[in-house]
Amino acid sequence: MSFSDIIIPVIFAGVMIYALCMKTDVFSEFTAGVKEGLHTIYDIFPSLFCLVVTVAAFRTSGGAELITTLISPLLDLLGFPYECGNLMILRPFSGSGAIAIYENILKTSGPDSYAGSVASVLLGSSETTFYTLSVYFAAVKAKKTRYALFAALIGDFVCAVVSAVSVRLLLI
């Protein structure tokens, strides 16, 4: 039994107990929330659909591998393992795609190798940037997102560089 197994039931029961104590009409509030949830998905679905389809296209085209080959001199310069290049490129686009590449690195290089450790740190300290951007801004129908993409990619870049540095300092 893990931490996350405990936390969700505890949150649900806790919220219900508190709401009953405060004499909230739990059922009608819950169903009203569900209705709002349906509106939300209705609003974000078109953007989500677009992104999923284009990301799938990008993955199958072999674009990530090609970009990794192109930037491999830069990766060498930063001491970033070549095996993790694909992971770094695909991580902002696709959560499931990144996990597939990650498993492949664990299988071929081993989880405790340099590449395996860097991949673990990279995966553990980043999120699916483009998915988040598209869903969050679709929800408020904001078309002009100004510097959002730039700031998010700065975060992802620093994440990649520091993951290699921290593994070298702490683990190897």
Partner: protein, 198 residues
């Protein structure tokens, strides 16, 4: 922004597929993935409905307001001009708490609700332009706040790692650096764009 990402990726994919000789795979993937997108949306619908329901109960009972009061001193450093325990701040608190605990499914519905409440509270005349606070929240969510990287740890264990949790300190350092860089970028860009407008 999205038009560049979507169009760019489509064009690049077609180009790369031509170079790599994977046109057949690409067209199959395009046709199959539409179904995948709908499936993902259905899974997401369940999650969003569940957490929206719970969130609404917590909100109308006054629980989220209490939580927001606790987190307000820290969060008001990041978000400017939002009411201390207003609805926007409440949902931002829930979103960030869910992220830290690693409840990925819950953080998205909370984050979306927070975006909407920021929009309501700021009530800007230009609805198509993202505000500084909206960008801050979104960029926070593109960085990782999760304390324990459960997915990576579980996979490391499955592939025979001797110490699956040994990555923790490195993950924390990396997450904090990435988060600090992203937040600094948001703050600096926000300041520049405000100065331009004056």
């Amino acid at each position: 922004m999205m038009k560049w990402i979507v169009a760019g990726m489509m064009i690049i994919s077609a180009m790369f597929a031509a170079i790599n000789g994977r046109m057949g795979e690409l067209s199959t993937a395009l046709l199959e993935e539409c179904g995948g997108a709908v499936q993902l949306a259905l899974t997401l619908t369940g999650m969003i409905c569940l957490w929206s329901g719970i969130m609404r109960v917590a909100q109308s009972s006054g629980l989220t307001e209490k939580l927001a009061k606790i987190s307000a001193p820290i969060l008001s450093l990041l978000f400017r001009g939002l009411k201390k325990s207003g609805k926007a701040m409440q949902y931002i608190t829930l979103n960030i708490t869910a992220n830290i605990l690693g409840l990925g499914n819950a953080s998205t519905p909370f984050g979306i609700a927070a975006m909407r409440e920021i929009e309501n509270e700021e009530n800007s005349p230009r609805h198509d332009i993202a505000s500084d606070n909206m960008i801050m929240l979104t960029v926070l969510n593109t960085a990782s706040l999760q304390l324990v990287p459960t997915t990576a740890a579980a996979l490391r264990l499955r592939y025979g790692s001797e110490a699956p949790m040994e990555i923790l300190p490195a993950v924390w350092i990396t997450s904090v650096c990435a988060l600090a860089a992203a937040v600094a970028a948001v703050k600096i860009c926000g300041r520049i764009s405000r100065r331009k407008r004056l």
